[in-house]
């Protein structure tokens, strides 16, 4: 920066200005407005009469932390993240390895097939998966019955509803992660594998000592992106379990926010929920990158 001439710096700012303005208008401003909302009691009364708004300071946040339903939603979301992120990444990595090492002619076919769920509308997907999960006529229970397992009420049983949502999310999202892994795999120099093979390394040793370390930056990136995405779980339970059922077993933090905001019209309170989620996601992301840095050292 210091080596730049003043004129160049100005030109740089000018060129970046449109993008910065857009970011300010569509990101910073709403975030600021959201925060402002979260310290008010803006609700249905305020929509009817703008005079009926009070600044309540941290009251929304205090209520939030004493609300069992919020903690339940947070627990559900963590459960989803802890189960879903490793599963998605594991399946994606396996698929990426398969796609890159498999029969050359079929590579594009598999890549397309695995990526197709990512670009399919979730609502359409949900309709199909609801059939799959049907306790009596569903394909999944049919298959389990073949193995001698009793039918499971996937979406109606509080114990199974979240795993069912995880399964759907993994199937829906692993294709995207897979594509990133494929790119990461292609960046690993082929010579390393050749050298290892000459030294007599087994397939597992090559994977363990070349592929995994070579993919480390990709893995960190994918983990961060997936965690951020999965913390915002919303559409899957919204369409699959009609908004968080059974008995709030699939109520996520974002769904809780949506219900407070758009069902009960507690907009100020809902904004507070959004902010708490923002801080949680930020903290988790910072932890992840810090862990990565330590591992590199």
């Amino acid at each position: 920066m210091r080596s730049l001439h003043r004129g160049e710096a100005r030109a740089g700012w000018l060129l970046a200005a449109p993008a910065l303005l857009v970011i300010a208008a569509f990101f910073l401003l709403p975030v600021a407005a959201g925060f402002a909302l979260s310290v008010t009691d803006f609700d249905i009364y305020s929509i009817g009469d703008p005079d009926l708004v009070r600044i309540v300071g941290a009251a929304n946040y205090r209520t939030l932390f004493s609300e069992p339903l919020f903690w339940k939603a947070l627990k559900n979301t963590l459960y989803f993240v802890l189960l879903g992120v490793p599963a998605t990444m594991g399946v994606a990595l396996a698929a990426a390895l398969g796609v890159t090492s498999g029969v050359t002619r079929l590579k594009p076919v598999f890549r397309t097939v695995y990526f197709a769920p990512v670009v399919t509308t979730l609502v359409a997907v949900a309709v199909v998966w609801r059939y799959l999960y049907h306790p009596r006529f569903g394909l999944i229970n049919g298959f389990l019955g073949f193995l001698g397992v009793d039918p499971i009420a996937w979406l109606a049983d509080p114990r199974w509803a979240m795993p069912a949502i995880v399964l759907l999310a993994v199937w829906k999202n692993f294709g995207y992660t897979m594509i990133i892994f494929v790119a990461g795999l292609q960046a690993i120099p082929e010579q390393l594998y050749e050298a290892a093979r000459l030294d007599g390394a087994s397939a597992w040793q090559r994977f363990r000592h070349i592929t995994l370390p070579g993919l480390a930056p990709t893995t960190t990136f994918v983990a961060v992106i997936t965690v951020i995405g999965y913390f915002q779980l919303f559409a899957e339970p919204y369409v699959m379990t009609s908004g968080g059922g059974p008995v709030n077993a699939t109520l996520s933090v974002v769904l809780y926010m949506f219900k407070e905001g758009f069902r009960w019209w507690n907009i100020g309170y809902a904004a507070a929920v959004a902010f708490v989620l923002f801080w949680i996601v930020l903290a988790v992301t910072l932890l992840q990158t810090a862990a990565r840095r330590r591992a590199e050292r």
Binding site: I44, D49, L52
Partner: protein
């Protein structure tokens, strides 16, 4: 109004068409278009455009439309939503229109149902169809248990449930009370005289002696294993379970008249009946809730007069009867009930008896939220995770919090 007068004054030969936008919900939205055809023939100067909104999305869609300034002229709404729309200042007070009307009169309606449309003494909706809860039961099972005629007091009812469970022939529950429905505990509370809310709807009153008595009864049914601890989604197919005799009684509403007839296998079609709710004392029948849908006119509408004409048309007794024929929705007016179509149907008759004894829910904008919290909290008592007193005290705390804003607004307006 003005537009009509102006058009008449000008005497222009081809009158400009006035478009009335009507939002109908779910099944009603489908049939109302057909129902309105004679009205269209009567009023060539009006064009009624019906837009059908799925019931599950209706509430959100209406509120979003209101905030976005895109509300229709006229809509069907669940009558428990009216207080919310009133808070928003979205719906037209209808008392002045009612005064001038020759079709719509308060006396023509079931009292409890009419009342659901009054907020602070003013009328904001005209009841369209009604919905209340009664008992649907298996005549064969109750007969075998020696319960018929259907019990009229809580004591006999409870005794009947015990006998049904003791019947031979497989695992069976006496009654189905889905744990994610608030109507059943609320109805039992109303029967005990509970007001549900206190201080003009600004505080919870669930710890009151009246509600506590009802709640104890409700929980006792679960504690004695007379009802399964299941939510709607956990039950799976209610109709199949009823046909298999897995439970013998079900407290539910008029929409299930049609569903039972459509979905029950032929073997069960002849062996079910309906009965008004038993009462905690000798004042049979016990009260039930006054649900249903109303027609409201939005304040933003520029065609209120035309919209009111549609409301009046849909409120005519013969149109109400035709509406029942098309949709199975029970008329909100009393006169259509003397038609043989309704009067000679024994399964429908119980609804008529019950409709004379219905009470509205507390008319506060927060009611749905309160009711949802009620069944969420009640589940703790059903599961035995907390005592009834703890649950009700906790519920009152939550409700007081939900109503904090209402208390403040009322205080500001100088109200009580």
């Amino acid at each position: 109004m003005l537009a009509v007068v102006a058009a008449a004054a000008c005497g222009a030969a081809p009158k400009p068409e006035e478009v009335v936008r009507f939002w109908g919900l779910g099944r009603e939205g489908e049939v109302v278009d057909e129902l309105l055809d004679p009205f269209r023939a009567e009023h060539p100067e009006l064009r009624v455009e019906v837009q059908q909104i799925p019931f599950t999305a209706a509430h959100e869609k209406l509120l979003t439309a209101l905030i976005g300034g895109a509300a229709p002229d006229l809509a069907q709404v669940g009558n428990t939503w009216i207080p919310e729309f009133v808070v928003l200042g979205a719906v037209e007070p209808l008392d002045p229109w009612l005064e001038r009307s020759s079709v719509i009169r308060r006396e023509g309606y079931f009292g409890g149902v009419w009342e659901t449309n009054l907020v602070d003494g003013r009328l904001y909706g005209v009841p369209w169809y009604v919905d209340t809860r009664i008992v649907f039961y298996r005549t064969d099972l109750l007969d075998a248990a020696g319960c018929l005629p259907f019990p009229r007091s809580w004591q006999d009812w409870l005794e009947c449930m015990r006998r049904v469970v003791a019947l031979p022939g497989g695992e069976r529950f006496a009654i189905l009370l889905p744990t994610d429905e608030w109507a059943q505990p609320v109805v039992l509370g109303l029967q005990q005289g509970a007001t549900l809310l206190a201080d003009d709807g600004s505080r919870g009153a669930f710890s009151s002696r009246e509600f506590a008595r009802a709640f104890d009864f409700y929980i006792q049914i679960f504690d004695e294993h007379l009802a399964p601890v299941l939510s709607t989604s956990q039950i799976g197919n209610v109709y199949q379970q009823f046909a298999e005799g897995r439970f013998a009684m079900y407290i539910t509403g008029p929409w299930n008249l049609g569903e039972f007839r459509r979905r029950l296998p032929a073997s069960t079609l002849e062996v079910w009946g309906t009965a008004p709710l038993p009462a905690p004392d000798e004042n049979w029948p016990g009260v039930s809730l006054a649900g249903g849908a109303s027609l409201v006119i939005f304040r933003s509408s520029e065609r209120k007069s035309a919209a009111w004409q549609v409301v009046e048309y849909l409120s005519r007794p013969e149109v109400q009867l035709e509406f029942y024929r098309l949709s199975g929705d029970l008329p909100a007016r009393v006169t259509p009930w003397s038609d043989p179509l309704l009067a000679d149907d024994p399964q429908v008759a119980a609804f008529f008896t019950q409709l004379g004894h219905v009470r509205p829910m507390p008319r506060v904008a927060e009611w749905e939220q309160i009711a949802t919290r009620l069944f969420e909290r009640a589940e703790e008592a059903i599961q035995g995770a907390a005592t009834n007193e703890q649950v009700l005290a906790g519920l009152d705390r939550d409700v007081d919090r939900f109503l904090a804003k209402r208390r403040w607004v009322r205080g500001r307006q100088g109200g009580p």
